[in-house]
């Protein structure tokens, strides 16, 4: 195709093809790493592609400065917004699993300090009940404890999630994007009612869920005594 088109356009086209393959490859790999960084990188590469499509294919290079600026602002705004929206939930998601597992481990430690010899097992029904209440408290700012927006108690939610047995619950609300495991366990340890729940050796099952908005993090642990 020599002589038909300036070399620059051909180089840009080759670059766009390579970039497409790289982002595709990144996409197929990153699910294994589970890190929002790969998603951010994918968005960044795509933004660069769009910038070059504009600059060299749409001839923004030689366009009036107002038009060029409008185009570049579009690319920049979309890139920044997309990266912000992509990075926050994914990394919080990964951290949440670590936090949730950490909560269960800390409760196990507290139980054994209190003299329990029982094991503490993660339970999917209790986790589901914890997830429901986490969502509820995150989205309904007036909630600050065990009661759900529909008037449900921890026991009601445990039953609804399919758990048979006695249920207890501890809730933490932090007015920030995240909460550390230490902050969390301190909040619960120095709450006498919560400490009693955590020390109860009869609670041999647990489900934990945590979720964050920009200004609110909610962690719910639901404890169960099998019937």
């Amino acid at each position: 195709m020599n002589g038909i088109v300036p070399r620059r356009a051909t180089v840009v086209f080759a670059g766009l093809v390579v970039a497409t393959c790289v982002t595709w490859w990144l996409g197929s790999r990153s699910s294994a790493t589970g890190v929002g960084l790969a998603a951010a990188l994918t968005v960044l590469i795509a933004s660069a592609k769009i910038y070059f499509i504009g600059r060299d294919f749409m001839e923004m290079r030689s366009a009036p400065s107002v038009l060029r600026a409008a185009f570049n602002v579009w690319v920049a705004v979309v890139a920044v917004a997309a990266i912000a929206l992509v990075v926050v939930p994914t990394s919080a998601h990964a951290d949440n699993k670590r936090l949730n597992d950490g909560v269960a481990a800390n409760v196990y430690t507290i139980q054994h300090q209190a003299g329990c010899t029982t094991n503490l097992v993660l339970n999917p029904q209790l986790q589901l009940a914890a997830q429901w209440h986490t969502h509820d408290v995150l989205n309904n700012r007036s909630l600050d404890g065990d009661l759900g927006s529909d008037g449900s108690t921890p026991q009601d939610r445990g039953n609804a999630a399919g758990f048979h047995g006695k249920v207890a619950e501890t809730v933490a609300i932090n007015p920030a994007l995240a909460i550390s495991g230490i902050e969390l366990i301190n909040q619960w340890y120095y709450n006498p009612a919560y400490l009693a729940i955590m020390r109860d050796c009869a609670n041999t099952l647990i489900g934990v869920w945590s979720e964050s908005a920009l200004d609110r993090t909610v962690v719910v642990a639901v404890y169960g005594q099998p019937a």
Binding site: I4, L16, S30, I50, I53, P64, S65, V78, V88, P89
Partner: protein, 226 residues
């Protein structure tokens, strides 16, 4: 508009201007400024439409990402049901079509009509391949129970999927019609000076179709599946 007898070169010093034509002379700063300010491909009005269209897509994509935050797991599972290789191949197909359109603009500019016509025809074929693959993708999605108004919460993802790709497909169809019109112009050997605005406008519109797909593929197919 201009009077032939008052043709004044604005680059000449003011004292050399024809004094009789002073009032009709163009403002001296005007022409150099225009040259410095660059060339708008196609009609200026078209760019209001293109940037407006791009902003509409950007808004839908941002809302999509916002919704995704509330349930990344469901969005991830849904995105995994899309056929990623088709999306990727379609990206390459549209990039190729854009490159052919760039080549066609240069061929048309250089008066190489048959070559330009072949290049535009190539871009049109790419559009047909894109639409064909898209139709297959829709067929697979709908036959596995994902309709635009499917049940929550998976429905949210597929509603966005169908709205975004559907709107984009509409743009592909309009763009294809424009490419065919350009082909017809080339067949009648319409000179570059007579058809520059139209040809450049069609090319710019087609590049917009391409870049919007890059954004949709990245956010709906790739990022959501991560």
């Amino acid at each position: 508009m201009t009077h032939p007898q008052v043709r004044v070169d604005p680059n000449l010093p003011e004292f050399l201007w024809d004094s009789g034509g002073a009032e009709a002379a163009p403002p001296p700063a005007r022409r150099p400024a225009m040259a410095r300010d660059g060339h708008t491909p196609g009609e200026a009005g078209l760019w209001i439409f293109i940037l407006g269209d791009m902003t509409l897509f950007a808004a839908i994509l941002i809302v999509f990402l916002w919704e995704r935050r509330s349930d990344p797991t469901v969005f991830e599972e849904s995105a995994h049901q899309l056929i990623q290789p088709i999306g990727a191949v379609n990206t390459l197909v549209l990039l190729l079509s854009s490159y052919l359109v760039v080549s066609a603009v240069f061929a048309h500019r250089g008066g190489r009509y048959p070559q330009a016509r072949r290049l535009v025809a190539g871009a049109t074929s790419c559009a047909a391949v894109f639409a064909g693959l898209k139709a297959f993708e829709y067929y697979v999605a709908i036959s596995s129970g994902h309709t635009p108004s499917g049940h929550m919460p998976e429905g949210t993802f597929f509603t966005f999927y169908f709205v975004l790709t559907g709107l984009h497909l509409l743009h592909v169809v309009v763009g294809t019609a424009l490419l065919l019109a350009w082909q017809a112009m080339l067949k009648r050997r319409r000179s570059w000076t007579g058809s520059q605005k139209v040809a450049e406008g069609i090319a710019s519109y087609w590049h917009m179709v391409d870049l919007l797909w890059v954004a949709i593929f990245t956010l709906v197919y790739l990022v959501s599946a991560e």
